[in-house]
Amino acid sequence: MQKKVVLNFPPHLIDQPITYRLIKDFGLVVNILRARISPREWGRMVVELAEDGGRWQDAMDFLADTGVEVEPLAREVLRHEERCIHCTACVSPCPTKALDVPDRQTMTVVFDRERCIACELCLKVCPYQAMEILFE
């Protein structure tokens, strides 16, 4: 099991080492892609979690019990197909090839949600506002 998710931390958990517990107690591999944690606000963290011999379901139960909301990353990243004109401007800045031109004959841009890490580099380079990321 390997998955990119968004962890939403309620403000009262600011002093809890949640990531540490995921790694130490449940043996998950945690790769933090981006995070925003500040006092008295909901914290948001985009992570790639891998089971890798750890206990996935127990970890998910722990997060639920603690009050951390887990959402799939895919829900946070929107690609407005009708706005995209396939200019390819987003392709070279995209660090994970989530946005790519697999067929160089048709030059059509394809978005692979699974590869997206919500880095937002595509937002500033798309002149047509075809990409939208809800991560605030």
């Binding site: 070279s92 160089r104 047509y128």
Partner: protein
């Protein structure tokens, strides 16, 4: 065997014309050779869809009661200022116009979410826009203020008029500096980490008629999803640049001024665009049919991406300062592969002109002609060609303050 445009039109009317796109012709030539292909094919269609800043539209809004003279007043559409220096109710909306209260680049880089290009797209999409105007009032045009919703269908004339479109070849932009650049060629990463290009390559209209044998004043074209016409050479037309053996310019060269009825057009082919840190513009879909008059024309339209070379230009230093420095020449085939090599360094490429949409334009134009709905036109005048001596000059500045001083001293001497 030479053909005339008249003969080709007769075949189009009879539904017998052989029409292929500028991409499809490559396989035909490979298969049959230039001679046979020239005999068989009548028309090759081209296309491009890219941001073209020197675009805009003029509108006749209809007269209010009591009458109002917008000329000399202030007019906005969805808060975007339009030019009103004409008669009572004629205005022009330019693609790059932005609202007065847009923060521009005050917080760098600005987002430029809405401007003239978007107003044109919204109108073409049939949306209502807000028209506001103030005027000084005259005896014949007494009204001084106006605030109303308006749609394209409400207007009398609505005409796209682009003074420079369809650039024949273009720069490949890179950034040699240490900071990110926000340009009309997109976001350029420091130390040449990316290269942005803007050409439809083998589908590009003027690269398929490199010496302007068929494209000229009055040529009927696909414009913004409707039918349009070439008015003349566009601004900054520069036919005298260095060319390859095939006659292809090795950098920005010819341009076209084009026009067409906006009411026929579609938002799929006129799209407002926001370039971070640069501004607003309009992406325009444009396609031109090339009549295959003889083997020479067939040879020209058989141009492929590997034949087209563009100059790599540094947008941190050479471009902004108007220096004619070229780092390298690369082919469109290399650019489309996703990576070029400049001074030994591999650089990732990205486009601004949509090749996918250019194919679609060429296909639509092919369908129109095949169905007998679109006839070719004979150019009324050719565009100035490579030997014409027509050049694109920089501005020679004469500081106005000095002229003013001279003016005053002249006045003094008269006294």
């Amino acid at each position: 065997m030479a053909k005339t445009i008249q003969e080709i039109n007769d075949k189009i009317r009879a539904g017998r014309a052989v029409v292929v796109t500028a991409e499809e012709i490559l396989a035909v030539v490979k298969d049959k050779g230039v001679k046979k292909a020239a005999a068989q094919v009548d028309v090759v269609t081209t296309g491009t869809f890219a941001p073209m800043c020197s675009s805009g539209a003029y509108f006749n809004l209809g007269h209010t009661k009591p009458r109002m003279k917008l000329g000399g007043g202030r007019v906005t559409l969805n808060d975007v200022p339009a030019y009103a220096g004409f008669a009572a109710v004629d205005i022009f909306m330019g693609a790059t116009a932005i609202p007065d209260d847009d923060p521009r680049n005050k917080v760098f880089p600005g987002a430029f979410p809405y401007g003239g290009g978007h107003v044109i797209e919204d109108l073409v999409a049939g949306e209502e826009v807000r028209l506001t105007a103030t005027a000084y009032g005259t005896d014949c045009y007494p009204r001084k203020a106006l605030d109303t919703l308006i749609r394209l269908a409400d207007m009398n004339e609505a005409v796209l008029f682009n003074m420079r479109n369809a650039y024949q070849n273009y720069n490949v932009a890179v950034n040699l500096s240490d900071r990110v650049l926000y340009t009309y060629m997109g976001v350029l990463q420091p130390r040449m980490r990316n290269a942005n290009y803007c050409t439809a390559g083998q589908l590009s209209p003027l690269l398929n008629d490199p010496l302007y044998r068929t494209i000229g004043v009055g040529t009927r074209i696909f414009l913004g999803g409707g039918v349009g016409y070439v008015v003349s050479q566009g601004t900054q037309h520069n036919p005298g640049v260095r060319r390859t053996d095939r006659g292809l310019p090795m950098g920005g060269s010819a341009t076209l001024a084009v026009t067409g009825d906006l009411k026929q057009m579609s938002p799929r082919w006129l799209r407002g665009a926001s370039f971070t840190g640069y501004g607003v513009t309009l992406a325009v879909g444009l396609g031109i049919p090339i009549p295959i008059l003889d083997e020479e024309m067939l040879y020209y339209v058989s141009v492929s991406d590997a034949d087209i070379v563009g100059p790599v230009v540094d947008y941190s230093e050479a471009y902004p300062n108007g220096k004619a420095e070229i780092l390298a020449h690369v082919t469109v085939a290399e650019l489309k592969s996703g990576e070029i090599v400049v001074n030994g360094k591999k650089v990732a490429t990205a486009g601004l002109s949509s090749y996918a949409r250019a194919r679609e334009v060429a296909q639509i134009l092919k369908d129109w002609i095949s169905a007998g709905n679109f006839l070719l036109s004979e150019a009324l005048e050719p565009l100035p060609g490579p030997e014409s001596g027509y050049v694109f000059k920089p501005l020679a500045e004469r500081p106005a303050i000095q002229t003013l001083t001279e003016g005053y001293s002249n006045v003094a001497s008269v006294k």
